[in-house]
Structures are given as structure tokens and as C-alpha cells.
């Protein structure tokens, strides 16, 4: 009897020890540089000055959102320390700032750095250092390349996916179309054009009758519109940024050209493009979207939009709700918070990347209904769905299904 008791005691003691050690192993906190029991350091690089300074508001929105999260207790008890630097959209400066963040400030990862050239400049560095370069703020297609660059991930739908969707639509609705394309002469414009051509595949050569490019330094693109009209095209694919898009819409009405106007999502804002160009000139324009447009009255009573407007009113009153960048910053910050929540107490760089590649049907409520964020170890393109929309009256009307246009880098 005493022997058995002793045995039992030993066994149970052993079990208790085992369970305790097992339990502590499960709950063990793992950290890389930049994370502690109380803090998660996140780096960010934005063009607060220079030619692209209009996008700097994305960084300010994110800072406001993380502050709101911190005020509510942080993520799993840890506060976010958001360190955001200015690179003036100059790649050499981006390299300097990225190195400062990684080597001097010792952040856990860099989040949502903006622009294709700046991100290209640090692409190799981040991957060599094995520091996540998460949710970069550019639509270039090359960020979705988990095999060669396992530490870099985009967020928004890439440009090629979007123009493939237009190509699909044109092939179905207007197979005999004569397409005139106007694009901005940079990486963004060329990426779109490439997607369009690949989407049209064999018919690209015969369908695209005119291609014109413009420089951002041109004061007006009117002459390009006149030239494209003279080619007799009946579809106009408009790959321009907001200022030029508004000019194009106006000029097309002025010269009484009546093509099917396809406008890229970059310039689909009602507030900054359509309204200045005139509602009457914009009827029937087709575009694609993945985010809700604040200026669109159909979301007036939408709970997700209300939450966003509450955030603006309470935590970020200086933000202009008509600025599309604000809603982008809000959405991407929410995605980041979700990834960090999934990480739990394992805040290593490898796990951050693993969780970022493990988003399943995640939604931030500023996305259009039906659009979800999905990633996997082989799919580093978080948002790849868009829905077509047609401008009618004073707002966009969504039509058709949510379409996926996955393209790998």
C-alpha cells in the first residue's frame, strides 16, 4: 500500500511537472528584436515631403489607428510603437531610412512603406536581412513572389489583376472593340498596360489600335485625347492618376467623343475626380473597385462605413474623408492588427510572416461586400478581388459578380 501510494505520488508528481513544463512550453513567449512583453515596434516609410507627399496621409491615418488600438489596451497586452520616417519618395533615402529602422531603431518589421521605386530599393535588403516588408503600399505585381522574396508582401489588388478584369469584360461584351489606351509613363502605367495586353492575349494586337503615354510633368493631357479620338477607337482605357483623369473626362465630353470609357481604380474617386469633371460628363464610365467609396451615398447607413467615420471623427479629425488614401490607410492598418492578433505571444519575424500568409477570409469592413483577404504560403496577394462598377447619376453602381484576377509576380 505505501509502495503504491508512493508510486502514485511519484507518477502524479511527474505528471504535474510534465504538464507544467508542457503548459509553459505552449505559452512560452518568443520574441525577435523589436518585440517585448509590453511593446511591438513597427517601422514605416512614407513620402511626407516631395512629389508624392499627398500619400503621406496614409502614414498619418495608420499612426492614428494604432494609437486608437493602444488606447484600448493594445494587442494581447502589447502597445504598438509606430515609427514612421520620411523618404521624400527618393529611393536612396528609403534605403537609409529602412536601415535606420532595422539596424538602429530595431523594429520587428517594416509595414506599408509606400511607392514602387522606394520599395524596390529595399526589396533585396529586407529579404537578405530576413525582416518582413509587409503590405507595401504599391500595386506593382512583383510583390507577389513568395518563392524568391519570402519576406515581402503587398496588400492592394495589383494593377495587372485589375486590367485583366477589364480585358475579360471587353472580350465578353465588345469583342470587336477598337481600343485606345492612355497611360502614365511609369511603372504603374506600364504594369496596367501589360495586364491589359495579357488579358486580351492573342487579340491584343488587333484590338488595341492606339497607345499614348503622358508624363506627370505635363500640365494637361488634352492633346493626347484629341489624338486618340482621331484614331476612331470606340473604347477608351484610361490609366491615369486623379488630376489627369478629371481632365480626360472633361476633354472627351468637349470633343464629343463617345467611347466606352474604362477608368482605372486609381482615379475612381467620386470626390476628387468625377465631381470636378462633372457628373453629366461621367455617365456610363466603367471602373473596378475593392473599397467602399466614402462619397458614395449607398454606404451612408453601412455599419462598416459608420465605424470608419467614427474613427475619423474621434481619432483622426484632421483626416479628409474624401481622400481615398485615408480609407486605404485604415483598411491596411486593420489587416496589420489582425496579423498581430494571430501571432499571439510568438512575435518572431518568421511567425509574423507565417501569420501574414495565413489570412483566411479576413474582412475589414471598408472592403466591398464579398471581397475578402486571403493569403497562403504560395499566395502573397492579400486582395485579388474586384467588382466592376458603372457610374450612374451621382454614384457608382456595382454590377456583375466579385471577380478574381490573380496574377503572380
Amino acid at each position: 500500500m505505501p509502495v503504491t501510494t508512493r508510486r502514485l505520488a511519484i507518477a502524479s508528481a511527474a505528471f504535474v511537472v510534465f504538464a507544467a513544463s508542457g503548459g509553459s512550453a505552449l505559452a512560452q513567449k518568443k520574441y525577435d528584436t523589436g518585440a517585448t512583453d509590453t511593446e511591438i515596434k513597427i517601422g514605416n516609410i512614407m513620402p511626407y515631403s516631395g512629389p508624392a507627399s499627398a500619400y503621406g496621409v496614409i502614414g498619418k491615418t495608420e499612426a492614428a489607428y494604432f494609437k486608437k488600438i493602444n488606447d484600448a489596451g493594445g494587442i494581447n497586452g502589447r502597445k504598438i510603437n509606430f515609427i514612421s520616417y520620411d523618404d521624400g519618395y527618393s529611393p536612396p533615402k528609403t534605403v537609409e531610412q529602412a536601415r535606420k529602422l532595422v539596424e538602429s531603431d530595431e523594429v520587428l518589421f517594416i509595414f506599408n512603406s509606400l511607392g514602387t521605386p522606394p520599395n524596390s530599393a529595399i526589396h533585396k535588403y529586407m529579404n537578405a536581412k530576413k525582416v518582413p516588408q509587409l503590405f507595401v503600399a504599391t500595386g506593382a505585381t512583383k510583390w507577389n513572389d513568395p518563392k524568391d522574396f519570402p519576406w515581402t508582401m503587398g496588400w492592394q489588388p495589383n494593377y495587372q489583376s485589375e486590367s485583366r478584369i477589364y480585358a475579360k469584360y471587353l472580350l465578353k461584351e465588345k469583342p470587336d472593340a477598337k481600343i485606345a489606351v492612355l497611360y502614365q509613363n511609369d511603372d504603374y502605367g506600364k504594369d496596367y498596360l501589360k495586364g491589359l495586353k495579357e488579358g486580351l492575349s492573342a487579340k491584343a494586337a488587333s484590338m488595341i489600335t492606339a497607345e499614348e503615354s503622358y508624363e506627370t510633368t505635363e500640365p494637361s493631357i488634352d492633346n493626347h485625347i484629341v489624338k486618340l479620338k482621331s484614331t476612331g477607337a470606340d473604347v477608351f482605357v484610361d490609366i491615369t492618376t486623379p488630376k489627369f483623369a478629371a481632365q480626360a473626362i472633361k476633354k472627351i465630353a468637349e470633343v464629343e467623343w463617345k467611347p466606352l470609357h474604362i477608368l482605372n481604380n486609381v482615379a475612381a474617386s467620386v470626390g476628387s475626380v468625377i465631381k470636378p469633371a462633372g457628373y453629366e460628363n461621367s455617365q456610363g464610365i466603367i471602373s473596378a473597385a475593392y473599397l467602399k467609396d466614402v462619397t458614395d451615398p449607398q454606404w451612408d447607413n453601412d455599419p462598416g462605413m459608420k465605424e470608419f467615420l467614427d474613427f475619423l471623427a474621434k481619432d483622426f479629425p484632421e483626416g479628409n474623408k474624401l481622400d481615398n488614401s485615408v480609407i486605404v490607410g485604415y483598411g491596411v492598418a486593420q489587416t496589420m492588427v489582425q496579423v498581430l492578433k494571430q501571432c499571439g505571444d510568438d512575435l518572431t519575424r518568421a511567425n509574423v510572416m507565417k501569420q501574414a500568409a495565413n489570412l483566411k477570409d479576413f474582412r475589414t469592413e471598408v472592403l466591398l461586400p464579398g471581397v475578402t483577404i486571403n493569403t497562403s504560403p504560395t499566395d502573397f496577394a492579400p486582395i485579388s478581388q474586384l467588382q466592376l462598377q458603372r457610374f450612374k447619376g451621382e454614384r457608382w453602381e456595382l454590377f456583375g459578380d466579385v471577380i478574381s484576377g490573380d496574377v503572380g509576380g
Binding site: 520620411d86 529611393p91 536612396p92 536601415r99 539596424e103 538602429s104 521605386p117 530599393a121 509613363n185 511603372d187
Partner: protein, 349 residues
């Protein structure tokens, strides 16, 4: 301490004042202290700081090149970013497409930029002062767009730019250090590599300005008519100054490409040209050692300004710049002279 900068700055009515050539350099003592600092600091700091110091040297060389042109021969240029870009792209293309060793690409970048600058100097001869500044400004605005041209895209990578591989320290250096159980990082190697080139260029520039050609530059700067009356071939020396300046800028560009590991049209906009111009003015026009001070100003002051206020970093930078120009209009040179006078007074007492 240094006998070289004893000459007091003389006010002259011209835009660029006459700087006596002895006042263009540092004394031996000061030079050795500087050299010692540049040699030893990297051993004690993080890789990131070493990287910043490398950039400091590279921009220092580019500012020095502009200093030879403006301070030496009296010609303005707001187009240095274009030469910098040509140098950077030459190095990047030779390294990535031709597989050439990074060190060999630098003289080639220098020669190509020398030729480019010399040729550009020809039409620029007819212009002077603000008109020349505008002509070079045109060059700087045109360059990023030229780099984007579809025609060159297969080499330049167009708007996407080119990624450059960072060089490792050579085997010989590594094996030598391994005896001492040390290991040299890529950043540190690149720093010393840049330092050697910077010193070589500095010595070359100092000697150039002290030579017959240098005297010709300065004669043109001070009075073109008098210079030609003395038998100086004004046209030749003016274009030569452009060529030399562009060549040195090209080497700096090449080093910049290797250090940053990336070239793209957006890296070489007019902002860069203006920064270099700013660096020259802050360092002191015509005072070669000031180039490194000017370079420090354009690298670190924007960071300081950002630290003070994120939203108003541009305005803070403007205020700081205004203060510098208002308080010390002759830049670092003036500070050095005042410092020297103070030391002199101490010695007397």
C-alpha cells in the same frame, strides 16, 4: 594649428568671391586629425552608421566636384544630378549586364561623365551666371525622363530601375583579418573602399587647383577678360572645368549606386542637384574641405528637421537653412576661420 586658412575672407562685389588658392585646403595637422577620425570611427559604430558615413563621403565627393566648378572656375551648375545619374547608371549597367567588377566600373563612369560634361560644356560656353544655371537646370530635369525612355529600357530597367549586387570584401582582406579573428562586413569594406577613393579625389583636386590649370580656372573666375589677355584659353579651360567636375560627380554616382544597391530615375531628380548646390554653399564656396560639412548638412539636417516636426519637416528645414545662411553666409569656411582666430588669440595670451 593650421596655417592655411589664415587669410581673412575679403568681401568682393562678384557673385563668387575670390578665394585665394592657399585658403582652399586644410593645414597638415587638421587634415591628419580628420583622416584619423574617418579611419577609426567605423570600428566602433553600427553598420547603419557606417552606411551613413559612406553616403557622407559620396555626397562629399559630389559636392567637391561642384566646388571645383563653381568655386574654382566660377561657373554655376544645377545639373550635377544628371552627371551623378550617368555615373550611377554606368556602374550599375556594367556590373549587372556586363558582369564587370565594381571597382573597374568607377573609372569608366568617370571617363564617360568627363566626356559628357566636356561636351555639355561646349554649348554652355556661351552662357554665364544665371543663364548657365538655367541651362544646367534643364539637363537635370531632362535626365530622369531620358532614363525612362523605352529605347534604353533593356539596359536601364526603365522606371523599375536596376538592383545592384553589393560587393563582398575581397578574399585577401578577409583572410588577413581572419588571422586576427576579425570579420569585415560588406558595409565596412565599402566604407574603406569609398574612403580611399575620396582621399585620392581630394588630393587630385587640391593639386589640380594648385597647378597651372587651377590657376587658369581661378583667373577665369576672377576676370575672364584679364585671363584671356594673359593667354589663358578661356573656352578650353571652362569646358575642362565642366569635364573634370562631371567626371568626379560620375565617380560619386557610381559609388552611390554600389552603396545604395539600386538605381532608378526617381533617385536622380532635380532635388538631388539642388541638395548638392546647397551642400556647396553651406560648406563654403571654394573651400574644398567644406564639401564634407555640406554633405553632412544635406544628409543629417533633413533627419533633424523630421525629428522636430513630422508634418512641418520642410518648413523646419527651411528655417534651419535660413539661419545658417543668415548667421554664417560663407558656410563652414567662416566657422573654421573664426575658430582659428580664437585659437590664435589663446596662444597669444
Amino acid at each position: 594649428m593650421s596655417a592655411a586658412i589664415e587669410d581673412v575672407v575679403t568681401e568682393s562685389p562678384g557673385v563668387i568671391e575670390a578665394v585665394p588658392k592657399r585658403a582652399m585646403t586644410l593645414g597638415t595637422g587638421t587634415s591628419l586629425v580628420m583622416l584619423g577620425l574617418l579611419l577609426l570611427t567605423p570600428l566602433f559604430v553600427k553598420n547603419f552608421i557606417i552606411f551613413q558615413m559612406t553616403m557622407l563621403l559620396i555626397y562629399g565627393v559630389a559636392v567637391l566636384a561642384l566646388n571645383i566648378l563653381t568655386g574654382g572656375s566660377g561657373q554655376f551648375s544645377l545639373g550635377q544630378s544628371a552627371f551623378y545619374a550617368v555615373g550611377a547608371y554606368t556602374s550599375a549597367i556594367l556590373m549587372e549586364h556586363a558582369g564587370m567588377n565594381y571597382a573597374l566600373t568607377l573609372p569608366i563612369a568617370g571617363i564617360i561623365c568627363f566626356a559628357f560634361g566636356f561636351l555639355f560644356g561646349q554649348p554652355a560656353l556661351r552662357l554665364s551666371g544665371v543663364y548657365l544655371a538655367l541651362a544646367t537646370f534643364a539637363l537635370a530635369t531632362a535626365m530622369p525622363q531620358l532614363l525612362k525612355l523605352g529605347y534604353f529600357e533593356q539596359w536601364t530597367g526603365g522606371v523599375q530601375g536596376l538592383v545592384v549586387t553589393k560587393p563582398d570584401p575581397p578574399e585577401a582582406v578577409q583572410s588577413m583579418l581572419s588571422w586576427l579573428h576579425l570579420k569585415m562586413s560588406q558595409d565596412m569594406w565599402l566604407y574603406y573602399f569609398t574612403l580611399v577613393i575620396t582621399i585620392a579625389i581630394y588630393i587630385f583636386s587640391v593639386n589640380l587647383l594648385r597647378s597651372r590649370s587651377g590657376r587658369a580656372f581661378m583667373a577665369i573666375r576672377d576676370n575672364e577678360i584679364a585671363a584671356s589677355a594673359m593667354g589663358v584659353d578661356v573656352a578650353l579651360y571652362k569646358t575642362l572645368a565642366f569635364g573634370v567636375s562631371a567626371g568626379i560627380t560620375g565617380v560619386a554616382g557610381g559609388l552611390g549606386a554600389i552603396t545604395v544597391q539600386f538605381v532608378a530615375p526617381d533617385s536622380y531628380t532635380i532635388t538631388l542637384a539642388i541638395s548638392l548646390f546647397l551642400g556647396m554653399v553651406v560648406g563654403g564656396v571654394g573651400w574644398l574641405p567644406g564639401s564634407i560639412v555640406g554633405s553632412a548638412f544635406i544628409i543629417f539636417v533633413p533627419n533633424i528637421a523630421e525629428g522636430i516636426s513630422k508634418g512641418l519637416s520642410g518648413a523646419v528645414f527651411g528655417v534651419l537653412l535660413f539661419l545658417v545662411i543668415f548667421l554664417v553666409p560663407h558656410g563652414a569656411r567662416q566657422v573654421a576661420i573664426v575658430g582659428q582666430q580664437l585659437i590664435g588669440r589663446f596662444r597669444k595670451n
